[in-house]
């Protein structure tokens, strides 16, 4: 009945017998995803259409990109609440550059560099000064978005060049959008980074026991710093995509995204206490959230009501395995 973490095993990539694979978190998510997909196709005749399904992906690609980096960060035992504010600041900077006559490559560069810089700032505060990340990033969340408000006030930047629109609106092939391709590439890269490299193992080690990791020669501070930079970087990339998709910048852009990204990560089976999680889970959670929002949207359910479904889904999916374990333990 306490927050003290129970002694845990490191659940990533131990030899998994077939049986435990069936009962894994990812399997549960796949079942949920398939169920929602099926319900959607029955509920709306417009759902099973390549163009509809393509539109669906825009619901999660931008948040999903950030969710990958956030997953690593949360596995390491930290959190970043400032991601949406980073999007706002990076977008504002891109807007300023447009007013100064910058071209598309410069804009993309600015978006990414500002994101990276904000992430590094968070990382420095957390690792150098040893501050709790949840508080630091609540602060920088106000700070970053606050700067965007100071620069823009109630105005908006428009007039992005035509070639810039490709990132958020362009299609690589048929109905496959650039955003979706980027999302899938990022999924593979982050999967490899977390599950197939020593860096990923260190992230898990830090999340399970930072002190033991330190004594084992893991440079805890440096790795956490890198993770904050990565989260900032992904937010910068997401900012480029969103700005390009909307074609304008307001300081309130992407408001509330941070909680949606974290919901996605937690729904994907990443332990909020750190030390456990997988990229496959996050990808599935991104799909599920996209499916729920889009399917309900086709049924003319307002966005705010969808958020009830997302919230209930989050709690049920977390509670279900706990209840299940209790029932089996008591019988």
């Amino acid at each position: 009945m306490t927050d003290i973490p129970a002694p845990r095993h490191i659940p990533d990539r131990l030899d998994k017998p077939f049986r435990s694979a069936i009962f894994s978190w990812e399997a549960l998510l796949i079942v949920v995803a398939v169920a929602i997909f099926a319900i959607n196709s029955f509920a709306s005749p417009y759902f099973l259409d390549p163009y509809s399904l393509s539109d669906l992906t825009f619901n999660f690609t931008e948040k999903g990109l950030i969710a990958f980096a956030m997953a690593l960060l949360i596995i390491s035992g930290e959190i970043d609440l400032s991601v949406a504010a980073i999007i706002a600041l990076a977008s504002t900077m891109m807007g300023m550059a447009v007013q100064a006559g910058a071209g598309t490559p410069v804009l993309v560069l600015i978006g990414i560099v500002v994101g990276l810089g904000c992430g590094a700032f968070n990382g420095l505060l957390v690792t150098r000064l040893g501050l709790p990340s949840i508080v630091v990033t609540i602060g920088t969340m106000s700070l970053f978005r606050g700067i965007a408000f100071i620069i823009l006030g109630d105005q908006a930047y428009k007039g992005y060049p035509e070639s810039f629109a490709f990132f958020g609106q362009g299609y690589v092939w048929w109905v496959v959008s650039f955003e979706l391709v980027l999302f899938l590439i990022a999924a593979v890269v982050y999967w490899f980074l977390l599950h197939r490299t020593s860096f990923g193992r260190r992230v898990f080690a830090i999340g399970n026991n930072p002190v033991a990791a330190q004594f084992s020669g893991v440079r805890v501070g440096r790795i956490k710093f890198i993770l904050f930079c990565l989260t900032g970087l992904m937010s910068g990339i997401a900012s480029v995509l969103i700005t390009s998709r909307l074609g304008s910048t307001r300081p309130s852009i992407a408001q509330g995204y941070e909680l949606e990204v974290i919901t996605m990560v937690v729904l994907g089976g990443v332990s909020i206490l750190g030390g456990a999680g997988s990229i496959v889970g996050v990808v599935l959670a991104a799909f599920i959230m996209g499916l729920v929002t889009f399917g309900l949207g086709l049924l003319n359910v307002p966005g705010i009501v969808m958020s009830i479904f997302i919230g209930v889904l989050l709690i049920i999916v977390i509670a279900l395995p706990i209840v299940w374990r209790r029932l089996r333990g008591s019988s």
């Binding site: 009945m1 306490t2 927050d3 003290i4 609440l81 505060l125 000064l129 040893g130 501050l131 709790p132 949840i134 508080v135 630091v136 609540i138 602060g139 920088t140 969340m141 106000s142 700070l143 970053f144 978005r145 606050g146 700067i147 408000f149 100071i150 823009l152 006030g153 109630d154 002190v211 330190q214 300081p251 408001q255 509330g256 909680l259 974290i262 919901t263 937690v266 909020i272 206490l273 307002p302 705010i304 009501v305 969808m306 958020s307 009830i308 997302i310 919230g311 209930v312 989050l314 709690i315 977390i318 509670a319 706990i322 209840v323």
Partner: protein, 325 residues
């Protein structure tokens, strides 16, 4: 340790006095007792909410759903008032407390019985409660013209020259002061934050105490719901959107450690006042209100840097040495 805590609040109080001093160099009337009373009244709701959040944070938990609770409860009392203007205000306040209590108890039960981390539970209920507000109201607003004069006027009525809203804040502060310093529950809340394992061995039911603190923060959210709606005289789904982070910011500036166990009623009140003074001062000294967000963000970062320095000096010395070695 007690002396040290007092020390920190004195520093925060000094910072607030310096802040008021700086503002009054640009706008002398700001330091008027009448104006300061006005600032206190403006900050009352934030102070009440910060106290509710404080008891949760002290037990190493967090309640992200307070602003959504406020929104929902506010909508309930506003709709009740619009439909049945005859219901007296004290009864409405009791209803607000009860509705808030139910919402808080839902959080608390999930944390207590299922042992789900509070940040996950309240992240979920944050969106659920606001969504349910939409379902309840059908997206419609309740405007001032639908509210009864009593509903709007109650908190504005002056008693001994001070509005009722301020009196409610003072009453809540007093209650929390008694709770935290004079009751066994208050001591248990601190104990859980400092060391949950040791608390279990001393006979404290950690889960139940966490349930109680979520009930408290829920009731506070409900009370603030009525106060907020009757103050800004509009009930909509957008009420206090994103305000949960302001509440936490007030706690952090007030020196309440997010790691639990450290913090006081005075700190929470001063932290809220600090934010309240900034938001009241910016317009009068001709700084665009768009600066407010960045300033409070900087204040949070500064506060957490300073507080972390304070926390590092005390306790846990054995562990620190081991870490260095």
């Amino acid at each position: 340790m007690k002396a040290f805590l007092k020390y920190r609040e004195i520093w925060l109080a000094a910072a607030i006095i310096v802040l008021i001093g700086l503002i009054s160099t640009r706008f002398p009337a700001f330091a008027d007792p009448g104006n300061l009373r006005q600032v206190f009244n403006d900050t009352s709701i934030l102070m009440i909410l910060a106290l509710g959040q404080m008891v949760v944070i002290l037990t190493r938990s967090i309640d992200l759903s307070m602003a959504s609770n406020l929104c929902f409860t506010g909508m309930v009392v506003a709709m009740l008032n619009a439909a049945h203007p005859a219901i007296p205000i004290p009864a409405l306040i009791v209803i607000a407390l009860a509705v808030g209590l139910v919402l808080g108890a839902i959080n608390g039960l999930l944390v207590w019985l299922l042992n789900i981390p509070s940040i996950v539970v309240t992240l979920g209920t944050l969106t659920i409660y606001r969504g349910v507000t939409f379902v309840l109201s059908g997206g419609a607003w309740v405007n001032a013209d639908k509210m009864s004069p009593d509903f709007i006027g109650f908190q504005r009525a002056a008693f001994l020259g001070i509005p009722v809203l301020s009196w409610i804040a003072i009453l809540v502060i007093a209650l929390f002061f008694v709770l935290m310093t004079r009751t066994a529950l208050g001591r248990s809340i601190y104990a859980i934050g400092v060391n949950p394992t040791a608390s279990v061995y001393t006979g404290i039911d950690v889960g139940r105490t966490k349930f109680i603190v979520f009930c408290i923060s829920g009731m506070i959210g409900g009370l603030a719901g009525y106060l907020w709606i009757s103050r800004y005289v509009i009930a909509s789904v957008e009420v206090a959107n994103g305000y949960e982070l302001n509440i936490i910011a007030a706690c952090v500036i007030g020196g309440i450690s997010i790691a639990g166990g450290i913090g006081s009623v005075g700190g929470a009140v001063l932290g809220a006042l600090f934010l309240g003074i900034i938001s009241n001062a910016l317009p009068v000294i001709n700084i665009s209100p768009f600066w407010q967000m960045a300033i409070s963000g900087s204040a949070i970062i500064l506060a957490v840097v300073l507080n972390a320095r304070g926390e590092r000096q005390q306790g846990r010395i054995i562990l620190r040495k081991a870490e260095v070695a």
